[in-house]
């Protein structure tokens, strides 16, 4: 068994990030669409928070005249010029995996290729509201299929750990982004005119991470803001909670060579999540804390690249 090439490691890591991003985007758009359908027309919830979520408002405004449903959904799902769109993510993942096919089980490439063909031929269905859910659910299913093949047919070797690092880092990143754009707004007094719908929206936050059922099982209580935030940040068992993702990253790193420095960074981010009082669960406190976590995740991303993707000898 030869050591994993640095370039291949980088491509696997990025492919996993892109696939995760595609799946997360599909889930978020699906839940946001459901939420808007559920809420009354005069509800202040618009499509625009979706843009904030993917951090791409300025780029959107430069290309579209109006921030209406069709433009925003097109931008997020099918726009080939938008590197963060679902279609672009799938293309990028496929391109990265093309260069790593020799370390992947053939079935993985076939599953990703299927996903790519599906998105290419059915992307327009995602923009139409009436076919949107079906399209997005199929995307999510195909992403699950890819992951299922990876888990069950790929040796859990260094290449696998690289995929796993990428997926978990992207997942942690997405959860913090959702908290940043939705939770902070929901926690701020007065920003929502219709308090009645606050909890519906908190439920929506959970749903956009497929977290509702697991939230109930873990928390044994109705949905409320602080519990949702605590669950999504610190729950040890839910696979999309930030703490869980970081622990998985740490376990993966433990199986990789030259891991000391990177694991120190993981420890640092974990501390900023867990070691806080509940008092922080106010809008401002949460925002500061999320900023800190985001910076920590960015630092972690940089260190993984520095250690594993350059192929230089130990310093």
């Amino acid at each position: 068994m030869t050591a994993l090439l640095s370039r291949v490691a980088a491509d696997l890591y990025w492919a996993a990030r892109y696939l995760e991003r595609a799946e997360d985007t599909a889930r978020i758009v699906r839940e946001h669409t459901n939420l808007i359908i559920d809420l009354p027309r005069r509800s202040p919830l618009t499509w625009e928070p979706l843009l904030a979520l993917t951090g791409s408002r300025a780029a959107f405004d430069a290309r579209y005249e109006r921030a209406d449903e069709e433009s925003i959904i097109r931008y997020l799902l099918t726009d080939p010029e938008h590197p963060g769109s679902l279609a672009s993510s799938v293309i990028a993942a496929r391109e990265d995996l093309r260069t790593t096919r020799q370390v992947l089980p053939r079935l993985v490439w076939e599953a990703v290729n299927d996903l790519y063909l599906f998105v290419r031929s059915h992307g327009a269905d995602g923009v139409e509201r009436r076919s949107r859910s079906r399209f997005l659910e199929q995307v999510i299913r195909e992403c699950h299929l890819v992951r299922g093949v990876l888990v069950t047919s790929m040796s859990h070797d260094e290449a696998y750990e690289m995929l796993s690092l990428g997926a978990n880092l992207e997942r942690a990143d997405m959860t913090t982004r959702i908290l940043d754009t939705r939770a902070v707004a929901l926690l701020s007094p007065g920003t929502i005119e219709l308090d009645t719908y606050r909890n519906v929206q908190w439920t929506g936050v959970l749903r956009s991470l497929s977290a509702l059922q697991m939230f109930h099982r873990a928390m044994h209580r109705p949905v409320d803001g602080p519990s949702v935030v605590r669950f999504l940040l610190t729950d040890r068992h839910f696979p999309r909670s930030v703490a869980h993702c970081l622990r998985r990253i740490d376990e993966g790193l433990a199986r990789l060579p030259r891991n000391a420095e990177v694991r120190t960074v993981v420890d640092g981010v974990l501390e900023s999540i867990v070691d806080r009082d509940a008092g922080d669960l106010e809008a401002e406190g949460l925002r500061t804390r999320l900023d800190e976590i985001q910076l920590g995740l960015a630092a972690l991303h940089d260190r993984i690249g520095g250690v594993y993707f350059t192929g230089t000898p130990d310093a």
């Binding site: 050591a3 090439l5 490691a9 063909l117 990789l256 030259r258 230089t312």
Partner: protein, 488 residues
């Protein structure tokens, strides 16, 4: 199934002159008849879906961008009798052994030149002779470990059209075609003995491992690709995967001050013992060849000459696949092996020899004229399709620089029934088998059959509308089991 042979009076691989199945193709043709046109077309459609789903692609270039196209395969196979194939296979082995002796001699003492068998001036004019390789001693004197020959069947006889000794491609498509073909005609594989082709990656792996200079066990073998935008990238990746070795690009590698080749890994630098390179000589090492090569590895030639890494095919091996050398191959076989060639060359006229030149000039309209040092189809004149003006220009060019030109008769390629718009029609084919040489030799049972899909066309290149077929070597006699040793 109706088969229209009226458009062709040529030699067909499956049908004889009366349109009756050849003995070796009886089982297949009977089966096709039973299936009927609609069912056959359905299987073809399913095969195309499989190819799409499996992501079997090749890259074509247009507007400077590479586009992935689904690999074109006609499910109706080409069938060759195993008894005939054994003779072809022996001929290919013999030919590659002689070519390797020739290459080793050219970069060594040049006895063949001193003995007056091969003219010195041809060597001087060769675009693929690399002075940088003179004096190098690859293991066992083998330079070309992997050869992809182009065979044609002219009036029923197999002939070698080209020896590709640099970076021949196509073998992955041969393997993929078999995967699809087995799905399409599963029952036929049970009914008769069709020689398996899927041993190729292990044969190749054994060959490459056997080249490792110092022998760490197991040696680290890597496939060197120009990258994902190369038209043969699918194959590079396929072979690396099938052998379980690393697929590397130039940027993954470096040569250290001790002339050792390393790849960059997540554990740090890691020594490479054998490089199966799929990039041309001139791009291998910017320190020695083209300084602008971004896909090569600075210092690679130093490492190779120091003997710390084996390279397959060895740099400089291409000297023996130039069109002028080709004309000498029968002499080369006789000179080194003291045997008659088992496989024919296509008759080739060498314009720098006066009598051959005057024949060519007198018969231009019946010949194909080719520049000796160009690869691919550029500069080729097909006599019976050329205008009077073109013929005059060609004659002038030959007189001006005879050494640059060779000529061959216009070939009458054999045909195989091929699915065209729901009907079976004869289409011209060639065949690319792959020969491996290490400590021993091995030839793929069959190879990649390429087919010109347009009626009457002889152009089989997939980039120009050519397709492919699976090649079945079918056992037609009881023979002793061949011994299973491969090169290595």
């Amino acid at each position: 199934m109706p088969l229209d042979l009226s458009t062709s009076a040529r030699w067909d691989e499956l049908l004889d002159e009366r349109g009756e199945p050849r003995p070796i193709a009886k089982v297949l043709l009977h089966h096709l008849e039973e299936l009927g046109a609609a069912e056959l077309q359905e299987r073809q459609d399913l095969a195309e879906l499989d190819i799409l789903a499996l992501g079997i692609t090749f890259t074509v270039y247009s507007d400077g961008r590479g586009i992935d196209r689904a690999w074109p395969l006609c499910v109706v196979p080409r069938v060759i009798a195993a008894s005939e194939w054994r003779r072809v296979s022996a001929g290919l082995t013999q030919r590659l052994e002689a070519l390797n002796r020739f290459i080793d001699d050219l970069y060594g003492d040049q006895e063949i030149v001193r003995d007056g068998v091969f003219p010195a001036e041809l060597l001087e004019g060769s675009a693929n002779f690399r002075p940088e390789c003179v004096g190098a001693r690859p293991a066992r004197g083998v330079w070309a470990h992997i050869c992809g020959s182009d065979l044609v069947r002219h009036h029923g006889r197999f002939m070698v059209l080209e020896d590709n000794l640099r970076v021949p491609s196509g073998v992955s498509y041969m393997l993929e075609n078999r995967v699809i073909s087995k799905r399409t005609f599963a029952d036929l594989f049970e009914e008769q003995s069709i020689l398996p082709v899927d041993d190729y990656p292990s044969q190749l792996h054994a060959l490459l491992s056997s080249l490792a200079p110092a022998s760490p066990e197991p040696p680290t073998v890597a496939v060197l690709t120009p990258g994902v935008y190369n038209s043969a990238y699918f194959e590079h990746s396929f072979l690396a995967q099938a052998m379980g070795v690393e697929l590397v690009e130039g940027r993954d590698l470096f040569v250290d001050a001790d002339d050792l080749l390393h790849m960059r890994t997540i554990e740090g630098p890691k020594r490479v013992d054998v490089l199966y390179r799929r990039i041309d000589d001139l791009f291998l090492d910017p320190e020695v060849f083209r300084p602008d090569s971004a896909i090569g590895v600075p210092g690679l030639m130093r490492a190779w000459r120091a003997g710390t890494v084996a390279i397959a095919n060895a740099p400089g091996a291409g000297v023996a696949d130039d069109k002028l050398v080709y004309a000498w191959v029968p002499d080369i076989v006789r000179y080194y092996l003291g045997e008659e060639p088992l496989l024919e060359n296509v008759p080739t006229f060498r314009c720098h020899l006066e009598d051959e030149r005057s024949y060519v000039l007198d018969h231009l309209a019946e010949l194909v004229v080719k520049p000796a040092n160009e690869s691919g189809g550029s500069g080729v004149l097909i006599g019976d399709r050329a205008t009077r003006e073109e013929l005059r220009a060609a004659a002038e060019a030959i007189r001006a620089n005879p050494r640059n030109w060779v000529a061959q008769p216009i070939l009458d390629l054999s045909t195989v029934p091929t699915l065209c718009d729901g009907r079976l029609e004869p289409r011209h084919v060639d065949l690319r088998p792959f020969t491996l040489q290490g400590a021993t030799s091995w030839v793929t049972p069959g190879g990649l059959t390429r087919v010109a899909l347009r009626q009457g066309s002889l152009v089989v290149n997939s980039s120009q509308g050519g397709g492919s077929k699976d090649t079945w070597i079918v056992e037609d006699e009881t023979v002793d089991a061949e011994d299973g040793t491969g090169p290595g």
